[in-house]
């Protein structure tokens, strides 16, 4: 792999940048792999990377219907945090945050992980109890999260309006290690690093079927580029998981919803952190480019249309303008939608399936980006060992049958 560094940049500049090599190959699929990952989003690429790096499995193909990183990875609002309530969730997301902290160096790709803090606003007593419950549980789980008074909220994020509003801010929970990362760089960094370890990333190749043998076990996948054999197939297809799993005859506890996001025109630094309000349904941060990056909850109905409704956007922006009324004159530059796969308990599924050789990583809902390295890491483990890592062991499909839900939504955590 061609090394990236300031020195290399300087050296190649002298040659007019003509000597840079492709960051990844554009291979045709081979007839057979040890593992096929369906979906070249951040999670799928990360799984491939860790299969190669940590488990020595390099005969891996990542198959992508469109272009790599073009789904939710390239559409999300890039928030990273780990202050989840339940032990199981905290362990999973904290695993991810620890990987984020060294990811640029590990991948030799600047993913711009910026721990500028994630601040969740409390607007009423119920929020306060819920956030304090998170803060205490997080502390005992070794996850940083602290309660701020309204004044401390204002001090940490001066642009916020905390008083003259319909639901004044009474405090907030701050995870200082939380923040943002550059979404495209995550996909590209994992792609480049996986490719350099021998992983084939096959773009513009649609999976049309999952072939199962007489025993029921997976034999490979049918694609628009022909049949590709593999004894292990990991599905990491986000909003399309139900569709792909149906090819193997597996019904999923998932529904796919549109999730919208938008950015403003760029302005000079005016918002120092990530702020989320579940009570009034909006979150905001400012990108390195200067755009205000804004999102909210999902639209109301299941859809694969990758677009949402205007009335959802208006509610998101009326909330933002309530929180930061001086931004009313900023302007929306771009608005888009993704497809998020939502489970009944709003926690992901990273697990084996009833089909031997078929694994699934899905159900990340509106918050999958933050887990990218951790999710890929434990999914790789699950595929390589044919058993879950202890971190993802609770995130099974069977938990819905048995009632062992990990209900972060019910626990009044913010939905993102």
């Amino acid at each position: 792999m061609q090394k990236f560094s300031g020195f290399e940049l300087f050296r190649r500049a002298l040659g007019g940048h003509k000597s840079w090599q492709p960051q990844w190959r554009n291979p045709e699929p081979k007839a057979e792999y040890d593992v096929i990952i369906v979906g070249a989003g951040g999670h799928g690429l990360a799984a491939a990377y860790y299969l190669a790096k940590e488990h020595g499995i390099t005969r891996v193909a990542v198959i992508e219907r469109g272009w790599l990183g073009g789904g939710n990875t390239g559409r999300n609002t890039t928030i990273v945090r780990s202050n989840y309530l339940f032990d199981e969730s905290a362990a999973l997301y904290e695993h991810a945050v620890k990987l984020w902290e060294g990811l640029s160096q590990d991948l030799n790709y600047n993913v711009m992980y910026s721990a500028r803090g994630v601040l969740m606003l409390a607007h009423n007593h119920h929020d306060e109890i819920s956030f304090k419950r998170h803060v205490h549980a997080n502390r005992l789980n070794g996850v940083d999260n602290e309660w701020l008074s309204a004044e401390q909220v204002k001090e940490f994020c001066p642009p916020l309006n905390i008083r003259s509003m319909r639901y004044p801010i009474i405090g907030g929970a701050l995870q200082r290690r939380g923040g943002t990362a550059r979404h495209d760089a995550v996909a590209w960094g994992f792609a480049r690093a996986a490719d350099s370890r021998g992983v084939d990333i096959i773009q513009n190749c649609e999976v049309t079927g999952i072939r199962r043998g007489p025993s029921g076990a997976v034999e490979g996948v049918e694609t628009s580029k022909g049949f590709i054999r593999a004894k292990k197939v990991g599905v990491s297809a986000a909003g399309h998981t139900s569709v792909v799993m149906a090819m193997a005859g597996v019904r999923m506890p998932l529904e796919s919803y549109p999730l919208q996001a938008l950015v403003s025109e760029p302005v000079k630094p005016a918002f120092p952190t990530v702020v989320m309000s579940n009570t009034i349904h909006a979150y905001i941060s400012q990108s390195d480019k200067g755009e205000m990056v804004i999102g909210a909850g999902t639209d109301a109905y299941t859809s694969y249309s990758q677009r949402g409704a205007l009335h959802v956007t208006t509610h998101t922006l009326d909330a933002i303008c309530e929180l930061v009324p001086q931004f009313r004159r900023l302007r929306m530059l771009r608005n888009w939608g993704g497809i998020v796969d939502v489970t009944p308990d709003r926690s992901p599924i990273i697990a084996k399936t009833p089909v031997p050789g078929l694994y699934v990583n899905c159900g990340w809902g509106t918050g999958g980006f933050k887990a990218t390295p951790g999710s890929g890491n434990v999914f790789a483990h699950t595929i390589a060992k044919d058993e879950p890592h202890k971190i993802n062991a609770p995130f099974t499909l069977e938990r819905f049958r048995d009632g062992f839900l990990i209900d972060e939504a019910a626990a009044a955590a913010v939905a993102h």
Partner: protein, 1020 residues
């Protein structure tokens, strides 16, 4: 400064109305009808901005909404400050103050321009390859530096005081764009009687006709025809004309979002007018007449101030009487360059030369240029420009072979002060693409054109690749007729067949220049070392041709990847001037055809759209409805503090004035209120509780199915506490239910749960059990509810109530009776959420305040004390009564919160029952509701605090449960808390720890009932 570059006459500006304005602190003058851009150009000012990355000096590129360079800040005052406005769209008004952006210390000398010198080290995506060492330096050092450099304008720092409004509207035919095609379409539709809306982003309707100098339509000069047509349209009742209105997004089912700028152009907007208005317009049929955008040519140094799009220069000249310079060099790949050249020459601008990329030049326009003595040079390119803050010369070179591949010959530098370029026109298909219509590549014109439609929509004129004024007018008219016809047919399919050009029942004889479809996509050839020249593709984001080839070299093959890696097309113009040239360069680099490369998605909005427009009137108390009870004003008058509970304002506590003039704090007020209830009597506004009247012969059966409890045997006149589960077995809501008669139940719910519970009931009733004869009616707002609680409650109420015997035997605890109070009908409940003797007086809401006041007066001898939600919480916690949402979080089954008794074991089924049968729902380590006592009775635990067995255990510390409710009980003289703890009931009597950041609090697990465990006080 005078308008040295103003023509002597002509244009649509009002020369009788001079306007004075300031730019970067300097005063200039212009005319009414000018944009900021045209006025500055008339004053000879071209340097108006700095680019995003290299801070290169920039001038105007275009005259419209596609402008990437001339972004300014316009401020009416400190709060009314708008960054990033395009000077080309800012209408001039007296006193306008604009400043340039992204420069320090000044526009002429910008320290950030140092970036331009190190630009070889800052190629596309450079930041992905560096700034990684040492770990952590990104966030601490590099990122803040980059962020400070990035960004364009400065965000306002004061809340925006302006108003924004929103309107829903409907019409038969919406026409977007008021150029010739749109005008003709609107005319045709309007004549058919359809309701027609014609919208255009510009301040004046007319589109390209506004800049016509020589064309004629139906024998009239084009501008005369335009004003006649607008007058015709304006006179029709069925036509709505909206200038200054951008159709910015196309939503499913023909809903178009329009942003109308109402007051932005006024020197003194009145306070009653909104700044902008959002129209959510639903059109039966849409005609898109959005025209075409001129493409720049990508040649070295094409970004110097003074380098403009040729047709934009013509617009400045003809429409605003503003000359782009004194000496123009024109670089063109189509006939538009000649049209501009001819108009410039007529307007007194010297045309030094026309360099035409095409090898052979023929046709009427070039011939007229030659005839006019203009130096026309076929097969010639511009390979560079000179000058620093303004272009001073253009280097021209001859192409030896075909345009894109062959080397070029020796160059010659021509002195000039403006370079005008035209790469042809790109049909504006943004809205069509947003509508999910399919674009098709038209090889003949080298453009993506609208293919099949998804919505009831059709394109007309230049946006579908039609050229020539007469054909455009006739196409517009034909589309307008077809749209009107289709709008009358409700059964019309989603897409109407688009009529072919010229399928119009009316002809529009017109004389005008037909520019044809020639043009160029990509980077023009030059002999300079491409690695060290900057030929800009995306002006604002500083993306050059070589950045794009670098991306392809690095393996970014998808156009979406190229866009993201280089940021081309991601600036505030969203690629209007750059996307096609990017495609051309990528296609050439990859050796593919343009249509093989694909297209990036056209995302809304068409142009940047103000946040306030979306927020509309929703701010402050109008952000969400503020729901107040009938008794709210009384509480406010009596000094209550309020808390938000869902949309409601609830009295939280009633602080009394202290002798020293201060008021009690929460703690003191609650202690006093609690003691009053326990010792005498208190009153509480419980009106926000949800209420549902369940009526019908099958009411009891329905209740049986919806609640865990058994209802069949509940006698009329009695109350029962009911528990409702979700189908997954978890507690959803609770409340007291009264049976008024065999077929009528008065159900209460939690305050926040009311809408949810009603919807849940309707769901089952309508979709699972439609056969049940029972109906649900929300009565939350019908009844004001006054809880009178305490040992003296009966004595207070008895004298006021008529028709109900309040004696204990006649009206036992958990009963309901109907009677009157003050002559007002009441449903009186004997019920307690405090553990004391208690009643709840339900009266029609209009009488709530009067009845409250009467009870307050009647209670004076007993010292009756109004209390709020905080005291209510303490009193119920002393009794171990749960609050759904506080002791539960959606993961508790009834037994977890000691409500197992409320589950009708004999019932065959109820919502949630099957889920309770899962093994996990009765596991011994489930968290169970218990009480907590702190060793130090004064210590009040923090709600949400976690409970552990061993606070010294290493992280992650195993947690057993958490504190759900915690208060100081003034009545008991010690703190109390409720908690849910794994296997909690078996732990009663044991001790556990609550680790806090600064200390560990020891607690004893106790029964969750702290006060009157036998319930003796309930009966008074």
């Amino acid at each position: 400064m005078t308008n040295r570059f103003r023509t002597h006459s002509g244009g649509r500006i009002d020369r009788g109305a001079p306007v004075s304005f300031r730019f970067d602190g300097k005063t200039y003058s212009g005319f009414k009808g000018d944009t900021l851009a045209s006025a500055l150009i008339a004053n000879g000012v071209h340097l108006v901005g700095r680019s995003f990355k290299y801070h290169r000096p920039r001038g105007f590129l275009s005259a419209g909404s596609d402008e990437p360079n001339a972004l300014v800040n316009v401020a009416r005052d400190a709060a009314r400050m708008s960054p990033n406005l395009r000077a080309t769209q800012v209408e001039l008004y007296e006193g306008l103050k604009a400043t340039s952006q992204n420069r320090w210390p000044s526009l002429g000398f910008d320290a950030g321009a140092a970036n331009d010198f190190v630009s070889p080290f800052l190629p596309a995506g450079f930041y992905y390859k560096t700034f990684m060492w040492p770990a952590g330096a990104w966030k601490r050092f590099y990122e803040p530096k980059i962020r400070a450099m990035a960004g364009l304008g400065v965000a306002p720092t004061l809340p925006d005081p302006d108003r924004y409004t929103q309107n829903y509207a409907y019409c038969d035919v919406l026409v977007v764009g008021s150029g010739p095609a749109g005008l003709a379409a609107a005319l045709a539709a309007a004549e058919s009687g359809a309701t027609v809306w014609l919208v255009d982003e510009q301040p004046e309707l007319g589109g390209s006709l506004l800049a016509e100098r020589t064309a004629t339509i139906e024998g009239k000069p084009a501008q005369q025809w335009l004003s006649d047509t607008l007058a015709t349209l304006a006179a029709k009742d069925n036509v709505t004309l909206l200038p200054r209105t951008t159709a910015f997004a196309y939503f499913p089912h023909n809903m178009i979002a329009l942003a109308e700028r109402v007051t932005e152009h006024l020197a003194a907007p009145g306070a009653d007018l909104p700044r902008e208005r959002l129209w959510q317009l639903r059109a039966r049929e849409v005609v898109l007449a959005t025209g075409a955008l001129e493409r720049p040519l990508v040649f070295p140094d094409n970004d110097r101030p003074g380098v403009l799009l040729a047709d934009s220069a013509r617009t400045y000249l003809n429409r605003y009487g503003a000359k782009p310079g004194d000496r123009a060099v024109i670089f063109t790949a189509c006939d538009a360059g000649y049209r501009t050249a001819l108009d410039l020459a007529a307007g007194g601008v010297a045309v030094v030369a026309v360099a035409d990329l095409r090898r052979e030049v023929h046709g009427e326009l070039p011939a007229r240029a030659l005839a006019a003595g203009i130096d026309v040079r076929p097969a010639t390119v511009v390979t560079g420009t000179t000058g620093r803050l303004r272009v001073s010369g253009a280097r021209l070179a001859k192409i030896k072979g075909g345009p894109s591949v062959d080397p070029v010959g020796a160059s010659e530098t021509l002195a000039c002060d403006t370079v005008l370029m035209s790469g042809g026109f790109t049909p504006s298909v943004h809205l069509f693409s947003q509508s999910r219509g399919k674009l098709v590549w038209d090889a003949a014109s080298g453009a993506y054109l609208p293919g099949s439609s998804v919505e009831r929509e059709r394109s007309a004129g230049a946006c579908r690749g039609i050229t020539g004024l007469q054909r455009v007018l006739e196409d517009g008219y034909g589309q307008g007729e077809a749209a009107a016809r289709a709008s009358r047919d409700a059964s019309s399919p989603a897409r109407g067949a688009t009529p072919p050009p010229g399928a119009s029942s009316k002809s529009f004889p017109a004389q005008a220049d037909d520019l044809g479809t020639d043009g160029f996509i990509g980077a023009t050839p030059h002999a300079r070392n491409p690695a060290f020249t900057k030929a800009f593709v995306d002006w604002q984001n500083d993306v050059t041709a070589k950045d794009i080839t670098l991306a392809t070299r690095e393996g970014f093959r998808s156009i979406e990847h190229v866009k993201r890696y280089t940021t081309t097309g991601m600036a505030t113009d969203q690629g209007k001037t750059s996307n096609m040239n990017t495609l051309g360069i990528v296609a050439e680099a990859l050796g593919e055809s343009v249509p093989k490369i694909g297209l990036t998605t056209f995302r809304p909005p068409f142009t940047p759209t103000t946040f306030g427009l979306f927020a509309g009137a929703a701010r402050g108390d109008q952000f969400d409805p503020v729901r107040k009870t009938a008794i709210h004003d009384w509480a406010a008058e009596h000094g209550a503090a309020f808390e938000d509970v869902s949309l409601w304002k609830r009295a939280w506590y009633f602080p009394k004035a202290l002798p020293d003039g201060r008021r009690e704090d929460l703690h003191a007020a609650v202690a006093r209120e609690c003691k009053a209830v326990r010792s005498s009597v208190g009153m509480f506004d419980a009106s926000t509780l949800g209420k549902i009247e369940v009526v019908g012969p099958d009411a009891a059966e329905f209740m049986n199915r919806m609640y865990t409890n058994a209802w069949a045997k509940l006698e009329p006149g009695r109350l029962r506490y009911g528990v409702m589960l979700r189908e997954d077995g978890f507690v959803m809501d609770d409340g007291v239910v009264g049976r008024l008669s065999s077929d009528r139940f008065h159900v209460t719910t939690t305050t926040g749960g009311a809408p949810r519970v009603l919807a849940h009931m309707e769901d089952y009733l309508q979709t699972e059990w439609p056969e049940l004869d029972v109906w649900l009616t929300s009565t939350t707002e019908q009844w004001a509810v006054i809880a009178v609680q305490g040992p003296k409650a009966r004595e207070v109420l008895a004298p006021l109530i008529e028709g109900i015997d309040l004696a204990k035997e006649a009206f036992p605890h958990m009963s309901v009776r109907e009677g009157t109070i003050l002559g007002v009908p009441t449903r009186l409940f004997s019920v307690s959420f405090t553990g004391e003797l208690g009643f709840e007086v339900n009266v029609p809401a209009h009488y709530g305040r009067a009845v409250w006041e009467a009870i307050f007066a009647a209670g004076q001898p007993f010292g009756i004390t109004p209390y709020g939600t905080e005291t209510m919480h303490v009193l119920r916690a002393e009794k171990g009564y749960i609050i759904v949402g506080q002791e539960t979080d959606g993961t508790q089954v009834p037994d977890d919160v000691n409500l197992g008794w409320a589950v009708g074991k004999a019932k065959k089924d109820f919502v949630g029952k099957r889920s309770l049968a899962r093994a996990s729902m009765s596991a011994p380590d489930r968290k169970q509701l218990v009480g907590l006592r702190t060793t130090d009775p004064k210590v009040v635990l923090e709600e949400g605090a976690q409970i552990v067995a061993d606070p010294k255990a290493p992280v992650p510390v195993p947690m057993l449960g958490f504190v759900t409710s915690s208060y100081y009980s003034a009545v008991l003289g010690h703190s109390i808390a409720l908690a849910v703890i794994k296997g909690g009931r078996a732990r009663i009597g044991t001790r556990l720890s609550v680790p806090m950041p600064d200390r560990v609090i020891e607690v004893e697990i106790v029964e969750p009932v702290f006060y009157d465990p036998k319930g003796e006080r309930l009966n008074g």
